[in-house]
Amino acid sequence: MSIHEKIEKLTRRLASGQQYPTQGATLFIDLAARTVTRAWIPLSIAERFLGGRGVNMFLLYNLLDETLEPMSEETPLIFGSGILTSLLPSASRGNVTSWSPESGVILDSNAGDYFPSFMKLGGIDHIVLYGRARSLTMLKIERGEVEFQDASRWAGLDNIDFRQRISEEHGKEGRDFGLASITKAGENLVLCSGIMAGPKSIWARGGPGAKMGSLNLKAILLKGRGHDLTPRVPHKGTNRDIAMKLLGTSVVKNALKTRGTPFLYKPSRMMSAMGTKNNMETTWTDALDAENIDDYRPGMVGCFACPVNCRPLNDLTGVSGIKQDRYVKGDGPEYVTLGKFGPNVGISEVTDVLRLNNICNDLGLDTSSTGSAIAWAMELWEKGLIDAEKVGDLDLSWGNAESIERLLFMTAARQGFGNVIADSTRAVEKGHYPEEALDSLMAVKGLAQSDPHDARILKAFALGLAVATRGMDHLRNRVTLEINAKINDDAEFKRKLYWGEVSSEPNSYDGKEIGVRRCENIYGVGDSVGMCRFTTKLFNSPSLPGYEEFSAQLSNVAGIEKSVEDLDHIGLEINAVERLINARLGVRRAADTLPRRWFEEPIETGPFAGELIDRAEFDAMLDRYYEVSGYTNEGLPVPEWRSELEQVLGA
């Protein structure tokens, strides 16, 4: 069945008008034929999967043809704003979903800045894109009308220049328009490229930039805010309470609002859990601790209407010895970038990390995948598995920031050795590296590790990375509070937090499946509501907004009544749908694993020297995770549940 037939079949099941207050339309846009079909997600589906990530998965489940390829024009690319995006404090987020050309499993990425909010404000909840445009195209969507514009004059432009050109024509981003766009890297189908949602915000993981580039789509420009967002009953009083709650938590007040996520570097470093030199080592310099970035941080910014403003800006203007060009200032870095372009590649100068961060933002590169691919190459270089014949005149010694900078531009252009980095975790498959290179690849399900924390110590972190549906990524289910001594030491509080027993010892395997399950559920709901992960309960604080607040506002805004337990079950089901999709892509239990290095090589230094992941203990923990999740031994919903779910999904 072609995608046209699948869409026709699906739209017969969708509604022809708004189903609940504030709901936006779903647009099915054929970029080849230049047609637009409009429909509304039925209330029954919204009640089951909410919006954003949850409904994106419903759409993907119905439209995916796994006999094709990720970059086939009949494999859809789906944008989804959360059901409460722009309607809740800090709910400025939306998801991009597809079949990943980088990993080969589901592509599902989350970003903020302005685009998801402008979708909602413009009356659009989901955009389903398919068909390859005849030439490079930009979609302009204003007051519900879709215009297909020739984007060839912008071909090859990267983030800074493209956003500048659009601003010259359309006003100020975030006030007058929202923009989702790809860079030259996306146009060149670079597998570690993302879709930019702003100057720095990126849908990064899984190669969405390449996917969008494969459809010959440069950008989607959203203008106009005319959609009726009148809630069912007044909700702003509850929103004020939610804002007070999240702004009152210690992690927001003391850390996120002041310096942002660079704070995470120090605890990982002190535990000797800092992924260093492609995770061959686990400890690095204190020169990259957050306080050492203070001198270069002129302020903090945030996503659309978010009260937190967790993003540090950087400015190296006038700093001696630093090149004073367009990359002298920028937005970031987050902890991930600090780790991936710091210890992971052997860099110890803060100013080098800031510059590389700014370059990645302009080139539209996922710092997790790109940093990991470069670190992988550096290890292979050190071990002699690749040499000058492969890399040309690049020097891939650890810490060579100049080489790394050159390589970033080469990657975006797919030039020389950059063509290898551009193929990310697929470098062996594509014939760039020998088979034995896989021994040192730090990836699961074809996706390189998202963050720099070495998870051989905190077993809940390790389980999370192994089972996350999009690959080795901490944002799907990290039990972040495992690092907090006060929570670990309060057994009763911890039991109530996770709805079950989780060992107080972070390096124990006992009960960690309970923590991962609970986090996976609430983060899935958060993504479907549109809430930022940083302000969702269990991610860094037990006191942040969670199910109670989501429940209240789903009722107030949309008239959708869900208890705390209902929402937890929705989170479970969203993850289950993702597992069903992954199963169609060949994923089974064997893919819920970790890199060989973590099973076979113990941590060598620090207070947790000797820690590794014991295979037998890991397998037992995985069994318990499947059991608490209602999965079979292959990690899929048990037959009765699966059958009911597939009936609802309806493909």
Partner: protein, 91 residues
Amino acid sequence: MSSTAAGVRSIRLRLPETLAPRADERVRTVRTDAGTLGELIDFLSREIDGFDPNDELYNFAVNGAMILHGERAKTIADGDEIEMLVAFSGG
């Protein structure tokens, strides 16, 4: 460093930037009769502006080893180097 009287410990304390905005005020010597980290936390809650002893955001490291559980019972000795740090792991 040595104690000045029986039961009094001299601790080299390092504070995070969230509690000591100026770099020159982050490292200090503290004299206390606290024998455990729990007792030290209680003592510091009286001494340091803005520090809530129940705030889960802050962990402690004793001589470079971050304490992830058993915090209050952890014994401390004269001359120990104790660091309070912002501990969050999601970002």
